[in-house]
């Protein structure tokens, strides 16, 4: 098991280097530079700016310099926000987005998992259709739609909850978490239902049933472990997706998170910021994919047995 984790962590290094390298050159090739604006910039000014940010050096030299800084953990100065380092911007946005993402996944797993498991117990009956249909609405309701609807209902019409902010006014974290979580809730409901159905038809469950174990015990002890494997496999990428994809929710709710920086950096052609957030997110993606693989292995008795043997 430890060996498996060790190998995967070692594999992470070339993955991240590859991501940085590709991104580095990708952003330079993309049309439009960080200093282009509505009003034309004088050539002398542009040259001075490029010199300040080392952009006047040959590309490969810039790349080498960047990789050197990266190895020391320095992500460089932001182009868009002079006087701010990328490290500082990420440090400011990450805790907010991580907290938001955690709440969102919690919402998703509780609502989605529950709906999926309930539905799988009596497939093709009302107990199946009603929770699944409710969960499915979440997919039709992208955040840019659900967020404003929730805000209008609970923020404006009912005046129960604040319409923006994060940790400023009590209750301002509720609607963003629900909005961001609902899309994932629908996926999790579907995946857990399918996974549970798959497992509940397996021989060992039939055996358990034949032994006369109570149904809830079968579901919780045997069913969940196998049936939630697809869900667990989904959670890793989902968390990374939540971090990178919280942009819409952060914008709608005026939340000072990483998602906004990530997307705005691309719009602004803030080279160092794009790279910094990408490096950071790719590290997280690798870690969370690993975590979800480990969890899936742990939950799957057969795979676990194999790890034991190694």
């Amino acid at each position: 098991m430890w060996r498996f984790i060790g190998i995967r962590l070692l594999q992470a290094i070339p993955v991240i280097i590859a991501v940085v390298t590709v991104t580095f050159f990708l952003v330079r090739v993309a049309p439009g530079g960080p200093f282009d604006g509505e009003k034309a910039v004088m050539p002398e000014v542009k040259a001075a700016l490029e010199a300040q940010y080392r952009l006047d050096q040959p590309m490969l030299q810039q790349y080498a310099a960047y990789m050197g800084d990266l190895a020391r953990g320095d992500l460089g100065p932001s182009f868009k926000y002079p006087g701010r380092s990328v490290n500082e911007l990420i440090a400011a946005g990450l805790p907010v987005t991580a907290e938001l993402g955690l709440y969102a996944l919690l919402v998703a797993v509780i609502i989605g998992g529950l709906a999926g498991v309930i539905a799988s117990l009596k497939p093709n009956t009302a107990q199946d259709y009603i929770p699944m249909s409710a969960a499915m609405i979440g997919i039709c309701m992208p955040s840019f739609l659900l967020g404003p609807i929730l805000l209008l209902v609970f923020g404006i019409y009912l005046e129960w909850l604040p319409v923006s902010g994060w940790g400023d006014i009590p209750g301002d974290k509720i609607l963003p978490a629900i909005t961001l979580g609902s899309t994932y809730a629908a996926y999790i409901a579907r995946l857990s239902r399918a996974g549970m159905l798959e497992v509940l038809n397996q021989d060992y469950i039939r055996t358990a049933r034949a032994k006369g174990l109570p149904e809830w015990q079968i579901v919780v002890k045997h069913g969940l472990r196998g049936g939630m494997i697809p869900v667990v496999a989904f959670l890793g990428p989902a968390f990374a997706g939540v971090l990178a994809g919280s942009f819409v929710v952060e914008t709608i709710f005026q939340i000072p998170g990483l998602g906004r920086f990530y997307v705005q950096a691309a719009f602004n052609r803030d080279y160092t910021m794009i790279l910094g957030t990408t490096v950071f997110l790719s590290t997280l993606i690798v870690l969370f994919n690993l975590l979800s693989d480990i969890l899936a292995a742990w939950m799957n008795p057969r795979l676990r047995a194999q790890f034991g043997k190694r």
Partner: protein
């Protein structure tokens, strides 16, 4: 290997009858048939739109502006005074095409990729899955902007761009399924009696992994339709006066308080499609589930 396992392999139905049996089972599932009917209806409408649309899709009436549903305009009009029903019909052509084609691309790449990685395992698996990790991590937006600059604006490219993103999760799911299945007796049995890998993957692994894949596919289609709206934002998607459901919904969302019909009707079209897809997907999943069929 025990006798039972050999029996299972021997009894594994040949391809054609697997599908025939599945179709029989599907026909008994009323919800799935309903889903199939709705989807067929939408596709039919999409095909016939140029002949049956009540108005031209670009015809404006600026003085009329946004108006609620009426006798002339069943679903109302948008801010340009264009007929919403017509817009939805034309939008459906784009959205359905994007949804199905892009998802098929994603499905093809993802399932193949995941199945190979999961089945072969070892270094190949590690290399393939780390590739997936890399692609996950690249800044999607910059990638799209570059695609547009390099290849210009066209719909085929749009399909490919979406397919190129959506296959990643598909590959991960497929791989974990195959990995699980590979440990099961009937697959181990098949390997030990020396069936070629391609046959095992095709006949045993893919059909048995279909459940989650079908579910994920039916979920991917609507999200692909919405993703198309974002690509249009970046300039890659359809250009006005052409439209799509994703675009209609995102425009509608901006005026949901003032002109709710502009959101409700396109939203309804997408929701109906999603539900139909899911009913059909569930039906297919159950129909293809050989083990479950006996219950």
């Amino acid at each position: 290997m025990n006798d039972q396992a050999i029996n299972m392999i021997a009894q594994a139905p040949p391809g054609s009858s697997l599908w025939r049996d599945a179709w029989h089972r599907l026909k008994r599932n009323r919800l799935a048939l309903f889903g199939l009917a709705v989807l067929s209806f939408f596709i039919l409408i999409a095909l016939l739109t140029p002949w049956i649309a009540p108005y031209g899709y670009a015809d404006q009436n600026l003085d009329l502006g946004a108006s609620p549903p009426s006798a002339e305009h069943w679903l109302g009009t948008d801010v340009f005074g264009r007929d919403l029903l017509t817009q939805i019909m034309y939008g459906g052509r784009i959205s359905l095409a994007v949804g199905f084609v892009a998802t098929s691309v994603a499905l093809l790449i993802g399932v193949t990729w995941g199945a190979i990685a999961g089945y072969v395992g070892g270094r190949v698996d590690a290399a393939m899955m780390r590739m997936v990790d890399i692609l996950y991590a690249l800044p999607f937006m910059i990638f799209i902007v570059l695609l547009m600059v390099v290849f210009g604006r066209n719909l085929i490219l749009l399909f490919l761009a979406i397919g190129a993103v959506e296959w990643l999760t598909m590959a991960r799911i497929m791989r974990s399924q195959v990995q699980t299945l590979r440990q099961q007796e009937f697959v181990e049995a098949a390997i030990s009696i020396g069936l070629p890998a391609s046959t095992i993957v095709r006949r045993h692994l893919i059909p048995n992994a279909l459940g989650p894949i079908i579910v994920y596919t039916t979920l991917t289609i609507p999200s692909v339709m919405l993703l198309e709206a974002f690509l249009s934002f970046l300039g890659l998607g359809v250009q006005p006066p052409q439209t799509s459901w994703g675009l209609l919904i995102s425009y509608g969302a901006e005026t949901m308080e003032e002109y709710p019909w502009l959101l409700i009707f396109p939203g309804l079209a997408l929701t109906l499609t999603l539900f139909s897809l899911n009913f059909l997907g569930d039906g297919l999943r159950d129909a293809l589930d050989v083990r479950g069929a006996g219950d």
